[in-house]
């Protein structure tokens, strides 16, 4: 091995997280608005449908279990699913219909107008995530995108309700910001549930 690892190598890696993490605090208003809209959809009986590729597919599964099986006792279990969990179905859909429409195809089967679509892509350059969100938008779902970098193709998709951008071009750093973001999304959706008056249609701004 050519490189002898030392403390400064580790410090440099941890330091690289700081700016993007702090930047999430600047987006607290956007995060809160997304949570509010999500809480209203759940309250009206909607479910959460998540999707992403690679590591973001793991995030989609993580988000689904977060909502279905709350880590904090006493919180409501909420309906959620990932479109990327079943390798047999997903690879079958891709083989017949191509990669770019893979999530849009599943979404049309599993989701309705009252649901929430959450697409995840660390650089935003995932065409199947962009098309999944576009299909969701066209079907009347609430659309939420977790992206990074400059938002990419996903972030440029017109008419999405909430685009939350992790302020990093490093895919690992962007993922870490996403993990914090969806943990916060889960927790704050429940804050709205604890104040049911704000979910009343009469209150919606």
């Amino acid at each position: 091995m050519a490189t002898e690892l030392s403390g400064p190598h580790v410090e440099q890696i941890f330091d690289r997280r700081k700016d993007a993490t702090d930047a999430l605090a600047q987006d607290a208003e956007r995060v809160g608005r997304a949570c509010y809209d999500m809480a209203r959809r759940f309250d009206a009986g909607g479910k959460l449908v998540c999707f992403g590729n690679g590591s973001a597919a793991a995030d989609a599964a993580h988000i689904a279990v977060e909502f279905e099986h709350p880590v904090i006792m006493g919180k409501r279990a909420l309906p959620a699913m990932s479109l990327a969990n079943d390798a047999a179905t997903l690879s079958g859909i891709i083989r017949r219909g191509g990669f770019d429409d893979s999530f849009a195809a599943s979404l049309r089967l599993h989701a309705g107008a009252h649901d929430i679509a959450l697409g995840i892509s660390t650089d935003g350059e995932c065409r199947n995530v962009a098309r999944g969100l576009a299909a969701a938008r066209d079907a009347g779902l609430l659309t939420v995108a977790l992206v990074g970098g400059d938002g990419g193709e996903v972030g440029r998709t017109p008419g999405l309700d909430h685009v939350l951008i992790a302020r990093s071009t490093d895919p690992q750093v962007a993922k870490e910001v996403h993990v914090t973001t969806y943990h916060v999304l889960w927790e704050l959706v429940h804050v709205f549930f604890e104040q049911p008056g704000v979910l009343d249609p009469a209150v919606v701004p």
């Binding site: 690892l5 580790v10 895919p171």
Partner: protein, 214 residues
């Protein structure tokens, strides 16, 4: 907006529970959580700076000698195991792909073992079947108390694999088991912050492994 509604919903709107106040609370909560994870990462760095370098050096040696990585955990940690496997197998170029598997992604083996034997053996039995001396076992548990993760690491140790554990709180059973060569405990009582710090930790291990291999 809130004054008229307060008369309609006198109980719900008692105190701070109008929409603007809730949104304020939500904003503050987000900012607080960002502060918490930044501080926690700082503590992990301070505690494990040299240990992370040592662990990645051992991982690089294993891969160089033909070792493979097996990652495992439950729930959210099972998705972290998948993210680890995907990161090692399918990295952004020019980093070279390295063999890695997430044990819980094999739903057939997982459900067969859980049904036929017990949930506690789902990782130890698959490691007994697939693991070889010189391979790497990476077990993740936010509490440190997952019995199947501890059993998996015990089996890995018995087989001469490099054993790595990511835990939280005070390390739980993973801290008591003396079979884990490299144990990283995220000192927090929040499952969410622990998972976030663990994500940074395995990203750092991946990056350091490639640095050592370069």
């Amino acid at each position: 907006m809130s004054s008229g509604l307060e008369s309609l919903y006198p109980f719900i709107y008692a105190g701070s529970s109008d929409l603007d106040a809730v949104l304020d609370e939500v904003r503050r909560s987000t900012t607080d959580k960002v502060g918490e994870i930044s501080r926690l990462r700082g503590e992990v760095l301070k505690t494990y700076r040299d240990a992370l370098a040592d662990c990645a050096t051992a991982m690089a040696r294993s891969f160089e000698a033909g070792g493979r990585l097996f990652a495992f955990g439950n729930g959210g940690s099972s998705t972290d195991a998948q993210a680890v496997a995907e990161l090692f197998e399918n990295p952004t170029p020019p980093a070279r792909p390295l063999p890695a598997t997430a044990l819980a992604a094999d739903v057939a083996a997982l459900t067969a073992l859980a049904n036929d034997v017990s949930f506690e053996v789902i990782f130890s039995r698959t490691l007994a079947a697939n693991g070889r001396a010189g391979d790497i076992a990476l077990g993740l548990s936010t509490s440190g108390g997952s019995a199947n993760v501890v059993r998996g690491l015990q089996e890995a140790s018995r087989r001469g694999m490099l054993t790595i554990g990511l835990a939280g709180y005070d390390g739980g059973k993973m801290a008591e088991a003396d079979v884990i060569e490299h144990l990283f405990v995220m000192p927090s009582a929040s499952v969410h912050r622990i998972q976030e710090a663990q994500t940074t930790t395995y990203h750092a291990l991946w990056e350091l492994t490639h640095l050592a291999l370069s």
